[in-house]
């Protein structure tokens, strides 16, 4: 203030010298004095619950005069401004707040500004799907998968710990919400993966063909999925392959299942990966006592090459080719006695050698391009071939399967709230099955042409709608279908939202029916899904509750003359050409699922809990009456926990899985209709542990791991086999997985190119 007074006296002196009337300069003087005057403004910033907000910026709009709140929410600053002003409070996690203020020169104190918590993210549709947008990205990263105890690094096995899926260790595939394994499709970069599992002996679940580290992330939809995909009654599991490799490296691994090596070369705009592996499960089976009699333990080999190229900033081309070979042999009891078969099988001995040989080749090429951040284009082609030369005793069983596909998709981001996607895909596939020396060779070729459109509209940040329509034409069945899809989400609070999803999902009948000499070719089946969920998600804690109803129609039914008294429980049965077939089968599934994931409460720990309840029945295939299938457990419960111990660089993961028993059929109980699948196997418990220790030897980064599955060595029963002795007396034999407790150890070494060129 003294400066202003000093200046004033100076000015009056100047005026005197210049002989100017002091008054003439007075208005100017007043302005300058008021400009110099400092007005103190102070107060407090709180949230809607009156809690102080620390670090908020409080200022006069469009000036540099402002202050910052302390831990008690208090602010205080001085300004030279006067008159009508706006006081603005800013904070990263709250909505900006303004308050009009008239500054007269007198200090303004005791102001209270209330700030509302900001709604940061727009709503995302989550019903039926475990892929979410934004930062949460995908449901499971590769690291999540390999560090989940009990998954053994298998992408599909890890999904059995998500809600909606059934725990199963004797059959391949995903059993989702009452659906059979064939109802779930695995999709890699928009391309349907044919024979997702290596074939093995019956009753032995094999690994899926997907190495977790070749994918950026996994999106699992347990129903109500997008119009982009079809030909799956239940679910799709989407895998997105990695883009350009980060750096050149060499990777070597050894474990009880074999050896592998891979190398990556990174150029400026492209990268190439090549790898090879040799598998031999001898060490694994030597350590654990197998419930199967392997005369040839599973052995095999594989090789792959992957090329990625970014021709420009917003485009990427990827091409992959992979091939695998596997063989195995087990001795099994002659099933003819179980099924009461009097044909060729009964002429074989009591024990039969079952041999499998599987050759697989899969090649894909995809190109993605974004144009001016407004349009995107995806084009993909693929070809795959799978040949199984199995032997059942002396009889060869050959299956050859091929699939070629093309897909094109365009998306127009009309604005940041509205986008339109249109696309088309063509799938040509066929299967040939040969059982030389007897019966027949049968094959089919199918061509499915589809077109689809989907609109994503977020009219408000709290509302998102995604309607879609899919058209599919089957050349083999000469049938066209239209499948509408719809999903929507609405915010119910700053951290919570509700979603809906539904639609119609069509699929051809299982291959079995097109490979038989039956007189009638069954048509497509369909399922209608109705899904609703509510989700609460805040800073790495997510709770979700989801309910659904599923209605199955046009399922295939087989009619046997003796269906009232005999049921052949064999999922690999050969159809008798004389039986009747139609599409009058049906079914339903109702369920409730809970999911809780917490990455926050415990430092370095991540755990999730899932629970699924299902009530389902169906009348299909060779079922005589509506019944709950043998792969359904009413209650499924999983707890997965992971903890990283910083000090010893060790990741520990533990999983507990529980499910109630599976239904089974007891042929000793008569009549069949009243006793069909009424038995229940014992409950299933599994505890799995994984340890991974990270260490570097010079430039070599290494991981040593040990996995123990079924730690308690529980004798799991997944069903029963009833073997008749010829006099109508049955022996009850339990069916279980190939191995109970297994121990699997291994190590991985990787050498990343030292980036000297960076210096």
């Amino acid at each position: 203030m003294w400066a202003a007074i000093a200046l004033q006296s100076q000015i009056s002196k100047i005026c005197m010298r210049l002989k100017l009337p002091l008054l003439s300069i007075l208005p100017l003087l007043l302005i300058s004095v008021s400009t110099w005057a400092q007005t103190r403004i102070s107060g407090k910033v709180v949230d809607m619950k009156d809690k102080p907000i620390k670090g908020a910026s409080v200022s006069l709009d469009n000036t540099l005069d402002g202050g910052t709140t302390d831990s008690a929410g208090f602010f205080s600053f001085e300004t030279t401004e006067t008159g009508n002003q706006t006081l603005v409070a800013n904070d990263a996690t709250h909505s900006t707040m303004g308050m009009p203020l008239v500054i007269t020169g007198a200090p303004i104190t005791g102001l209270v500004l209330k700030m509302r918590t900001a709604v940061l993210e727009t709503v995302t549709i989550t019903a039926g799907s475990f892929a979410s947008g934004g930062r949460a990205a995908t449901v499971m990263s590769p690291l999540d998968i390999v560090t989940t105890a009990g998954s053994n690094g298998d992408v599909v096995k890890a999904m059995q710990m998500m809600p909606g899926t059934q725990q199963n260790n004797t059959d391949n595939g995903l059993f989702v919400r009452g659906g059979d394994a064939y109802e779930a499709a695995v999709i890699v970069d928009g391309i349907v993966a044919q024979s997702a599992f290596a074939s093995g002996p019956p009753g032995v679940a094999t690994r899926s063909r997907f190495n977790a580290f070749q994918y950026q992330g996994v999106q699992f939809s347990s129903g109500g999925y997008s119009a982009r995909y079809g030909q799956a009654l239940s679910a799709v599991l989407e895998l997105n392959s990695t883009d350009l490799a980060d750096k050149s490296n060499v990777n070597l691994g050894i474990n009880m299942g074999g050896l592998y090596a891979s190398g990556t070369k990174r150029w400026k705009k492209s990268s190439l990966d090549v790898g090879g592996s040799y598998t031999n499960l001898q060490p694994l089976y030597a350590l654990a006592s197998s419930n199967f009699n392997f005369y040839q333990v599973p052995v095999g080999g594989g090789a792959y090459a992957r090329y990625a190229w970014t021709p420009n900033k917003n485009g990427i081309f990827k091409a992959t080719i992979s091939t695998t070979y596997n063989k195995s042999g087990i001795t099994i009891p002659n099933p003819s006695s179980v099924y009461g078969d009097t044909g060729f099988m009964s002429k074989l001995g009591d024990r039969i050698n079952y041999e499998t040989k599987d050759k697989y080749l899969f090649a894909t090429a995809t190109y993605k391009q974004m144009f001016k951040t407004k349009y995107s284009l995806l084009a993909a082609v693929s070809g795959s071939y799978d040949s199984n030369s199995n032997k059942f005793g002396p009889y060869p069983l050959k299956t050859e399967e091929y699939r070629t596909q093309g897909r094109i998709e365009g998306k127009d981001f009309i604005n940041n709230r509205l986008s339109l996607m249109v696309g088309s895909d063509v799938q040509l596939y066929g299967v040939g099955k040969q059982m030389d020396s007897f019966h027949f060779r049968k094959s089919f070729d199918e061509k499915i042409v589809s077109a689809f459109a989907e609109v994503e509209w977020t009219p408000k940040y709290w509302l998102a709608i995604r309607p879609g329509l899919r058209y599919e034409y089957s050349a083999m069945l000469k049938t066209a279908v239209l499948a509408p899809r719809f999903s929507a989400a609405i915010k119910t609070g700053p951290n919570s939202q509700a979603s809906l999803a539904g639609g119609l999902f069509y699929q051809d009948a299982p291959n079995l029916y097109y490979l038989s000499d039956i007189t009638k070719t069954p048509g497509m089946s369909y399922a209608a899904h109705y899904i609703a969920n509510w989700q609460y998600s805040k800073s790495d804690r997510t709770f979700r509750i989801e309910a659904y109803h599923k209605d199955y129609q046009h399922l295939v039914r087989e009619y046997y003359p003796n269906a009232d008294s005999v049921f052949v429980f064999n999922r690999n049965r050969i159809l008798n050409p004389s039986i009747g077939i139609d599409n009058t089968g049906h079914g339903y599934a109702d369920g409730l699922e809970l999911f809780w994931r917490d990455k926050k409460s415990i430092k370095n720990a991540d755990y999730w809990v899932t629970y699924s309840f299902i009530n389902t029945e169906r009348l299909y295939e060779n079922f005589p009456v509506l019944a709950t299938p043998t792969f359904i457990a009413k209650h499924n419960f999983n707890v997965v926990g992971k903890y990283f111990i910083d000090k010893i660089h060790t990741n520990v993961s533990a999983t507990y899985s529980y499910r109630t028993g599976f239904p089974y059929y007891d042929p000793t109980l008569k009549p069949l209709k009243d006793n069909f699948l009424t038995g229940t196997t014992p409950d299933y418990h599994n505890v799995a542990l994984t340890f991974a220790y990270l260490h570097s030897f010079g430039k070599w980064f290494s991981v040593f791991y040990a996995q123990v599955d079924n730690v308690l060595n529980t004798k799991t029963v997944s069903g029963y086999r009833f073997v008749p002795d010829g006099n109508g007396v049955y022996t009850k034999q339990s069916v279980g997985p190939a191995l109970y407790r297994t121990i699997f150890v291994g190590a991985n070494f990787s050498l990343t190119q030292f980036s000297k060129d960076e210096l």
């Binding site: 200046l7 100076q10 000015i11 100047i14 010298r17 300058s32 400009t35 110099w36 670090g55 908020a56 910026s57 200022s59 469009n62 000036t63 540099l64 005069d65 402002g66 202050g67 910052t68 302390d70 800013n90 990263a92 996690t93 900001a118 940061l120 930062r135 990205a137 990263s141 590769p142 690291l143 980060d246 805040k538 800073s539 790495d540 990455k599 926050k600 370095n604 991540d606 990283f644 660089h649 990270l694 260490h695 570097s696 430039k699 980064f701 990343t752 960076e758 210096l759």
Partner: protein
Amino acid sequence: MKKLLLMSAIAMGALTTTKAQDFKKPLKETFEVFDTTRDQEKKMQLGNKLGLIAKKWPNEWATHYYYSLAKVGLSYQEKDEAKHDALLDEADKERDEAVAILGKENDETYVLASMIANSRMMINPMQRWQKYGKIFQDNLKNAQEANPENPRMYYFKGVTTMFTPKNFGGGKKNALPYFEKAEGLFAKEKNDDIMKPYWGKFQNTFFIAECKKEDKDN
């Protein structure tokens, strides 16, 4: 007396210029103190001040650039994940604004993008390294391609290397070459024009001393 008149005129003039066009002076003064102070409260205040500068001169890329930089700097101290991300959302927004005004990315905006990704990763490295580690690396690479002489890129690479556990190829020993490379490049820079970012030298010198300390212990 004429002198006095002139002085008072200048004094009056100074009063008006603070309200008018020259953003460079307050920007330089505010950022330099922000950059060198170790007092967190003060850092927060100056960060907010940079926000006011960016708001007052919204058409200058530099005001947005420094505000974004301040947000990243502050985010490292914020342990609450939601707040941490909110700060970085703002940093992203300001950076985008700067790039939009510039019309294209340059080495400094790439380094900034890399820092944002790194900070996003650091709040929860176990969950996030895969996604943000890549964005972080890619942007450093972009910066190097745009200008291999940018010292901040090497300095930041040094910092992140230093705070990476030894078992993962980090530690002081591995970080030192980056800081030393940066030192030479910092020496060539002038620190008079706020429009040509020159920050980092002071911290770089500090880290070189830190890295060398351990060498003695070994």
